[in-house]
Symmetry: C2
């Protein structure tokens, strides 16, 4: 049986809109929840701007460091979408019109509507494999262990089913949550002992405030 | 006048609960919105686990790379809160009972309630300066350009007022949003020309789906 601890991943969120605070990132949570369910741990997330050198360097660092890498954002048709060209550069491969992606998009749009702007969405590493997009036509792609997904949360979510069979995870990572009506400092000492005696379980402690009441969520992961 | 482009920052979100997908990070958005308003750009965010070596290395990378660094999470009283000891190690300074922090906490709790668990919240780099916590007593701290804040969003937010005068930003980073009823591929070409002719303004294009309708938000930042 595969040891789940050995299958890890990193997520790269690409987009100035997260770094400016305008948009709250939810794709990390979507990806991480899904990855955990197929036995892949997320070890690191980086949020980076739409700058080619930064994308190239981060992709190259992550693809060596982790079993799987997921990028989100920057594969649309506008000038600030530079993920596809940057990933091509990271892999030192040709950025051009992808034959199969072109066919999918040509079929998706009504005759006469497949304009230059839309054709840009077929530009990617020419040797990439496609990730089908059941929601809005434009496919994502993957090269070796790097999976490039869009930034729009609903579209990203809809595309995960299509890559599940490309990823070899371990056992699902299980978790239980225990909610207590207490404060952390009251239980810190005994909880620390429980953690020491159960090294194979990771115990996280998170205070919460709900409806004016204080509490602590203990999250056990194994 | 300070050139805002020269004042940058990095955010380190510390916590397994974000990497597992259980909790969606909102502190990045809170910090980034506030930093932009005082003229500090956020250049990178990293989400990392509660592992000492990872925290030490990330803090040391970021404090050299950026004018300001903000950490969120891991300064509470439980066994999984290891940010304070890790930051002490990153700065090669003593992790111990901070005199002023101890006094604040001693005063905050009723007599007899300042137990061992709570006293742990006074442990930090002994030469750190404190960040006062108007909500729940336990202070954050800063050392040189690294500001350590808690992970609970409401408490983090309440503590920002207390550090505003410690940060020298440039002019506020201004932004305007134009919402259009169109799709990105229809405007991609002309928008690209507008961006080329206005290099001092950063134009971001973000598709949205609201109440079943498609649209594009253009975000201008300068």
């Amino acid at each position: 049986m595969t040891n789940t601890k050995d299958i890890n991943s990193g997520i790269i969120i690409i987009g100035n809109e997260i770094l400016s605070g305008r948009t709250k990132d939810t794709n990390t949570s979507t990806l991480a929840t899904w990855l955990n369910s197929i036995g892949v741990r997320v070890e690191e997330v980086r949020v980076i701007p739409d700058i080619e050198d930064t994308i190239v360097n981060t992709v190259n660092t992550f693809r060596k460091k982790f079993n799987y890498v997921f990028t989100s954002g920057g594969i649309g048709p506008t000038h600030d979408d530079i993920t596809s060209q940057s990933v091509s550069k990271a892999f030192n491969t040709i950025y051009g019109e992808h034959e199969d992606a072109f066919k999918i998009l040509e079929k998706y749009y009504k005759p006469g509507e497949f304009n230059k702007g839309r054709q840009k969405m077929a530009w990617m590493p020419v040797d990439a494999k496609l990730i089908l997009n059941p929601t809005s036509g434009a496919p994502g792609f993957y090269l070796e262990n790097v999976f490039c997904l869009p930034g729009v949360p609903s579209i990203l979510k809809a595309m995960l089913g299509g890559i599940q069979n490309k990823i070899s995870g371990g056992d699902p990572i299980l978790s239980s949550i225990i909610n207590l009506r207490t404060v952390e400092s009251e239980i810190a000492k005994s909880l620390s002992n429980v953690q020491k005696e159960n090294q194979d379980i990771q115990i996280g402690s998170y205070p919460f405030f709900k409806a004016g009441k204080l509490g602590v969520s203990l999250v056990l992961r194994y």
